[in-house]
Symmetry: C2
C-alpha cells in the first residue's frame, strides 16, 4: 500500500508539505485526503500511517537531494491574449497565463534589460499600468513569442524563459525549493540523529565543487554536518569559509579561540558547562552557521558537544502546547552582550522572540541563551509569568531532544546557528592537555548564493 | 496655547507616538485627547494643530537628542511581597511590582551571575517555576533588598538596579528609546529636508567621541548625514568605519568604487541614470548604512544625488492608500543579483515585501530596486496586477518626495539603507574629469552598539 502512495506523491509535493506545514495534524490530513483513505480512521492509526510515509519520504528526499533540478519539457501549441493576460497552451493541453503588465515590465530588449548585469533597466518613473497588445506573433521556428505594444515598443520572449517563469503553483513551489532555498527538512529529534548526521572529507570539500555542494546541501537541509580529516592548522576555518564566500565578522573578530581563560568577557571561554544556547542572539544579523574546528579535544570526562534541532522542538511546542508556542513567538526578549574585545567596547542589544516566524509562518530563527538574555525585560508586567512558564517547557523539550557527542581533532563541526541549539559539558584542562577549538561564522546569504552557483555548474557538467 | 500643550507633553511620550504610530490620524487623536480640545473640530483644523505641535516637538527632539538619559531619582519607602510579586513603594507613593520568578532568574550572586562577562549563569535545566520568599529584608543603610528563598538560596538586589528595571510603561518606553535604539524621527518629506540635514566635520567625527556620537545619533534619527572636509584619500571610508566597528563585507567586497565602466556586473557602475533604489535588497542581511566618499565629482550637468525617506513615503501610503499599503507589506518579491566579482560568481536571492514591518508594526525596512527585482515573481497569478498597481503608486510618491543635491569632493554622504531610497542622475565623464566615489557599508548592529558605549562614556564624563 505504501508503495502505491509513494508512487503518487511527488517529491516536490512532499517538500512543500515539509516546508509550509510543520504540523503533524495538517500533514496527516493532507496525506489522508491524497490517498483517499477513510477519514474516520482513528488518530493513532492515522499518525502511524503518516509517520511511516514521512520516514520513507525523508529517505527519498535525502537520496535525491543532489539531483539537479530540471524544468519540465514542453512544446507550445497556441498563444493568445486577453486585455490583461497572455495565454500559452502547451501540447499536453496545460495552459499558463501571464499578466501583460508583468511581461512589459520584464521586456528583455536591450533598452529595458541590461544583459551583462542581468538587470532590469526600464524607466519605472514613466512605467504605465496600461499595457495593451497591438500585435501578437508566435514564432514557432525560433520558439519565441513576439509582442508589439500599442506604444510601438516591441518585446520578444523566449518560450523556455516564459515557461520557467509560469505562475502555476507547481512551478512556484519548485522554484522556492530548488532555486531559492533547499527545504529545511527533515526536522529531527534525538532518535533521528544517527540517521541524519552526515560526515564529509575535508579535502573533498575544499578541493571539489561536488564535495562543497554536498556539504552545504546537507548543512542547509539537516542543519548540521561534520567535516573530518581537517589538518590541525589554525587557518582551516578560514580556508573553508573562503571556499563558500567569506567569514562573517562579529565584534569578536573573524576567528575566535575557544580555550579556557579566566577574566573573560564571554562565558564561552570558561571550561565550565556551557548551557544549551544559540550564538549571538543579540545580533539582528545573527551569524548563520558555526564552524568549530577541533585542534585539541579534552582528555577529561567532559567537553562533549550537545546539539538540539530548535525547529523540531518549536514544532513539538506548537503541536502539544499551542498557548506556550504563541507566547514564545510573540514576546519580545532583550538579548544583549556587554564587553570588550581587543580594546573595542561593545554593547549589543536585539529584541526578538525565542521562536521567530517568517511571512509564511515557517520557523525562521531560534533565540536562546541564558547568559545573553538581558535582565531588562521590556514587556508589560502581566506577560512576565506566562513567558517564564512557556520558556520552562521549551527548555525542558530542548533538553529532552539533545544529542551528545564529542568531536575529535581534525573535525570541523558545522551547524545552523539560526535553527540549532548547542552546548558543551564541563571539562578540565591539565598541563599536558588543553582543549582548543577555533571557530568562525558563515552567513546564509553567502551559503545559499554559493549553493545556487554550484548547482548550476554541476548541472551544466552533467549535460 | 501651544506652550501649554508642550509643557504637558513629555518628550518620551512624543517619542513613543512617533515610534509606535506613524499614523497622522492616531497621532492627532492622541494629541487632541491629551489637550482636551473638542473632538468635533474638523479634519483640516485638527491636522493643522497636529502639524504645528509636531514641528515644535521635532525641533525639541533634535535639540535634546544628545542629552544623556538619566534614570529618575527615587527613595524606597516600603518593600513587601505577595505569593507572586515583590512590591516596592517609593517615597512619592509610586509603587513597582516585580515577578518573583524574574527576581530569582536575575539573582546577582556569584553563582547565578558572572560579573566579568555580565552574563547570567544560573542553571536553567534545573530552574523552578515555583519561587517562594521565606524572608524579605529591606536594608535601608546599604539600599539593598535581600531575599531568602525557600530553597535556602539568598539574593541581594540593589535598589537602583531594581528601579532601573521596573516594569512601568514609562520606564519601558524610556529604555527602548534611550538604551535600545534612538527613535527614527522625524520622518521627513521633500520640504523638510533642509531642516533635518546635518553636516559634520570629518576630523571631529574620527577624532572625538562627541563628534562620533553626534554623527551616529543624527544618522540613526534622520537616516542621513553628510561628513565634510574628508581628505581625498581612498581609505577614509575604512577609517570612518573602523571608528564605529568594522566595514560590512558583501559579495562586492569591503570597499567598492563607483566609477563608470563598461561590461560591468552591476548597473551602479554605469554613468547612466541610476533609478531610485535601496542597495542589496537581495541580502536577508541587507547592509545597514551606505558611506559614499566623493573623491571626484562630475563637472557635467548630471551626477546629482537623489534621496527619499522611504519610511515617510510608506507612511503616506498607509494613510492615503491603505489597500496598497497592505499589498506592499504582504506580497513577497524576489530580489536577486547574479554576477561575478574578483572571480567569485554569486547568485543572491531574498524574498521580502517592498515595505517590511517589525513585531510592533513599525516600519522595519524598505526594499526597492528596479534592476534587482527578479523576473521570477513567485506569487499566485491573481496577486500580480494588484501588486503592480500598488507599486506604481509607491514609486510615484517616492519620486514626489525626492530631494536632489550634489556632493562635493571631500564629502562622505552617509545614509540609512534600510530606510532611505537613493539614486543618481545621468552624467558624462570626459578626459579631464572622471567622477569617482568610494563606497562602503556599515551594519546597524555595530552602529547601535557604538552609540550605547559612547552614550555611557559621554554621560560618565559629564558626572
Amino acid at each position: 500500500m505504501f508503495a502505491h502512495v509513494i508512487s503518487q506523491l511527488r517529491l516536490y509535493q512532499f517538500q512543500r508539505i515539509c516546508e509550509l506545514k510543520h504540523n503533524t495534524k495538517q500533514m496527516t490530513s493532507f496525506i489522508l485526503n491524497f490517498i483517499g483513505t477513510s477519514p474516520t480512521m482513528n488518530k493513532k492509526t492515522s499518525l502511524k500511517l503518516f509517520r511511516a510515509i514521512t520516514q520513507i519520504f525523508i529517505q527519498r528526499n535525502l537520496n535525491t537531494a543532489n539531483k539537479p533540478f530540471k524544468f519540465p519539457k514542453f512544446s507550445v501549441k497556441n498563444v493568445t491574449n486577453t486585455s490583461q493576460y497572455l495565454i500559452i497552451e502547451e501540447n499536453d493541453n496545460k495552459s499558463y497565463e501571464y499578466p501583460l503588465i508583468w511581461l512589459r515590465d520584464n521586456c528583455q530588449c536591450s533598452s529595458c534589460f541590461h544583459k551583462t548585469s542581468s538587470s532590469r533597466t526600464i524607466n519605472w518613473e514613466k512605467f504605465s499600468l496600461n499595457q495593451n497588445v497591438r500585435n501578437l506573433v508566435h514564432d514557432q521556428e525560433n520558439r519565441t513569442i513576439n509582442i508589439e505594444w500599442d506604444d510601438d515598443h516591441k518585446s520578444e520572449f523566449d518560450e523556455n524563459w516564459l515557461i520557467e517563469r509560469n505562475f502555476s503553483e507547481e512551478n512556484r513551489v519548485n522554484y522556492l525549493n530548488e532555486c531559492y532555498r533547499p527545504v529545511k527538512a527533515p526536522l529531527w529529534g534525538k532518535n533521528d540523529f544517527d540517521r541524519i548526521l552526515k560526515t564529509f572529507d575535508y579535502e573533498k570539500v575544499v578541493g571539489t565543487d561536488q564535495g562543497l555542494f554536498d556539504w552545504l546541501d546537507a548543512l542547509s537541509r539537516n542543519g548540521i554536518a561534520i567535516i573530518r580529516g581537517t589538518p590541525l592548522n589554525r587557518n582551516e576555518c578560514r580556508r573553508l569559509a573562503d571556499r563558500v564566500g567569506f567569514i562573517r565578522k562579529t565584534h569578536y573578530g573573524e576567528e575566535f579561540e575557544v580555550i579556557a581563560k579566566e577574566g573573560t568577557s564571554n562565558v564561552a571561554y570558561l571550561s565550565s558547562t556551557l548551557q544549551l544556547h544559540t550564538d549571538l542572539p543579540y545580533y539582528e544579523y545573527k551569524p548563520g552557521v558555526n564552524l568549530l574546528h577541533c585542534l585539541v579535544q579534552s582528555d577529561s570526562k567532559g567537553g562533549h558537544n550537545q546539539i538540539t534541532d530548535g525547529f523540531y522542538v518549536a514544532n513539538l511546542l506548537k503541536e502539544e502546547y499551542p498557548e506556550y508556542f504563541k507566547t514564545l513567538t510573540s514576546t519580545l526578549v532583550n538579548w544583549s552582550d556587554i564587553g570588550e574585545e581587543n580594546g573595542n567596547k561593545f554593547h549589543s542589544i536585539f529584541r526578538a522572540p525565542v521562536i521567530m516566524l517568517d511571512y509564511d509562518q515557517n520557523f525562521a530563527r531560534i533565540n536562546h541563551s541564558v547568559p545573553q538574555r538581558d535582565s531588562f525585560f521590556t514587556v508589560p508586567l502581566k506577560n512576565v509569568n506566562k513567558w517564564y512558564e512557556a520558556m520552562k517547557m521549551f527548555v525542558k523539550l530542548v533538553h529532552d531532544e539533545t544529542v551528545v557527542f564529542k568531536t575529535q581533532p581534525g573535525d570541523i563541526l558545522t551547524f545552523d546557528n539560526i535553527r540549532l541549539i548547542h552546548g558543551r559539558t564541563e571539562y578540565e584542562d591539565n598541563t599536558s592537555n588543553t582543549r582548543h577549538i577555533i571557530g568562525s561564522y558563515l552567513d546564509w546569504d553567502e551559503i545559499y548564493s554559493r549553493l545556487r552557483v554550484l548547482r548550476r555548474n554541476l548541472k551544466e557538467k552533467l549535460r
